[in-house]
């Protein structure tokens, strides 16, 4: 008969002798944690509702546009000259969704860390504030890109399948792929950076969200008024007569100034760049006005509005100390 055997194991503290991978691991973890936070993973189911809603809201237009494209031939007959929706149109439609999505979700990546004080635990680990901010920023950019590209891929596949000759379509339109990749990046960089920069100034998510949405929504009618554009009638209102305004320092808004005022509508800034990338005439009257300006102007304005908040964000976190 075998001897009865028994063992007692030491469950005391053990030192860690596994690998230590340094800052690169920290950066990856920051990115992954940012993605999880934005999507509400690892938290209650309520945290996942908004991200899912936004994702669905962004995909539906792609599906609808793809369906429309596939039905065009049957409805109006082949070869008819109709304005079928394009990849550029899709960004115009979902840019409002992305703007709202980032205004509402992006502050979640920065504000709670400072409100709850978790940031101090980050800053005493072997990483810099730049690592932290860059990790959060990249995480949110990744999610925005994922949403934007998902829709475009659906749309592209839809177009290919709807085409009478899918291979001809691919040959003629393959350039749309790098275009929508580039244009998606343009939109995502813009929508990601501004709300994150704003979040660096408040510990309350709601304030950051309200501020960013306010910014977009005020700039939209402001641009409309100042340019004299009316999006509903798709026309510029006639310039007011001097007599109507009475004499005084007030000058009627001229066409040239209106083009510049068109830049005020912040929500459309990435769309101007996309119009260049897709080489399209925009649907929007304000955007068409801006297109009359030299290309460098909207590009410079876009770069300023993306890099500027980026630097502000970085700088604001540099100043943080425990």
């Amino acid at each position: 008969m075998a001897e009865p055997r028994g063992e007692v194991f030491d469950l005391g503290y053990r030192h860690y002798d596994g690998p230590r991978e340094g800052r690169m691991r920290a950066r990856k973890a920051l990115w992954a944690n940012g993605v999880r936070t934005a999507l509400g993973l690892g938290r209650g189911s309520r945290a996942k509702v908004l991200p899912v809603l936004f994702f669905v809201a962004a995909i539906i237009p792609a599906v609808v546009l793809a369906l429309v494209a596939s039905q065009v031939d049957e409805v109006v007959g082949p070869g008819a000259q109709v304005d079928i929706p394009s990849h550029g149109d899709y960004y115009q439609i979902i840019s409002i969704i992305l703007l709202l999505f980032s205004a509402i979700i992006a502050p979640e990546l920065l504000c709670p860390d400072r409100r709850e004080g978790v940031i101090y635990l980050y800053l005493v680990r072997p990483l810099t504030t730049t690592d932290y901010v860059a990790g959060r920023w990249l995480a949110f950019l990744s999610i925005t890109l994922a949403i934007a590209y998902s829709g475009q891929v659906i749309l592209f596949i839809g177009f290919v399948l709807a085409a009478a000759e899918p291979f001809d379509y691919l040959r003629d339109n393959w350039l749309d792929v790098p275009r929508f990749l580039a244009a998606g990046l343009v939109v995502a960089l813009f929508t990601t950076t501004i709300p994150l920069a704003v979040s660096a100034f408040t510990t309350r998510r709601a304030y950051a969200t309200a501020f960013v949405i306010g910014l977009y929504f005020i700039s939209f009618p402001a641009a409309g008024i100042l340019t004299g554009c009316d999006e509903e009638t798709d026309q510029r209102r006639p310039a007011p007569q001097v007599e109507e305004l009475g004499s005084g320092p007030c000058e009627p808004i001229t066409g040239d100034a209106a083009k510049w005022f068109g830049l005020i509508d912040l929500g459309k800034v990435p769309i101007h760049i996309n119009d260049l990338i897709f080489n399209e005439k925009s649907e929007s009257t304000v955007a068409r006005l801006v297109q009359e300006l030299p290309n460098g102007v909207p590009i410079g304005w876009y770069l300023f509005l993306t890099a500027g908040p980026g630097v502000v964000l970085w700088w604001q976190y540099r100043k943080i100390s425990v």
């Binding site: 860690y16 938290r43 101090y120 635990l121 800053l123 005493v124």
Partner: protein, 301 residues
Amino acid sequence: MSPLLEAKGLTKRYGHTLALENIDIRVDEGITGLLGPNGAGKSTAIKLFLGLLRPTAGSAEVMGQRPYESVEARGRLGYMPEHDCLPGAITASDFLAHMAQLSGIPPRHARTRAADVLRHVGLAEERYRAIGQYSTGMKQRVKLAQSLVHDPAMVLLDEPTSGLDPGGREEMLELIRRIGREFGISILLSSHLMGDVESTCDRIIVLDGGHVIEEGPVSQFTQETETLVIDVDNNRDELVAALATRGIQAKLEGLLVVVEQENEEQFDAIRDALVEANARLRRMAPRRHQLTDIFRRSPDG
């Protein structure tokens, strides 16, 4: 080998305020207490060692590295802040695994480290609940656990018993003693409670007004005095009288009988006086110096 923490001629100035002036500190293995009134420079010193501040002059080194020059020096340090610093929405387990990864530990190991460390600080099944639902004592344990999850050589604990009730406080102190003695992780403990320091620390460093005013083993500050305190439950006056007939001048301090020690023979007289007075002897021991005395002696401000 370089000491765990070493400050040489360390000076930190904020505008016109001199927070630390040319201090030299050396912290080796074991549990070291960092004491001092508010504004003495304790938190400035801690921030310098964590690399969150840059010295105005001199140096602050962690195991031979300057944390304000290379963030890697923080890799083997842990820090438990006094203030709130925990996310409410996620579980302790997820949080610790994330913190471990931030210190460079790969995800697979980070998970098991998180589970082990949470077990060692006494959090078991709670670790899968959101931290926001924890009691003060449990949160305090999570704060401690996150400072240990990457197995540092040294942890800096800032007022770890703050807000705990006596039971919670005793458990936390016991945990700190175990970390220092069993886990083999050295500790720099900053506390306002002399009881905490006395019961856990091997050595203390006392700062005041940006200078090191005292330094040494705790025992040096809690030495016994020549005053013998006799605590009896009855017949105090009889005891004082019985001592007086044996030539011993005893004083009553409240309910305690106090005798200045002169020689060993005195103990026989005291013993006999106790028997004569028929007193119930609860305690008889020399009075000790107390750590608090350091702050009684040093000038205010």
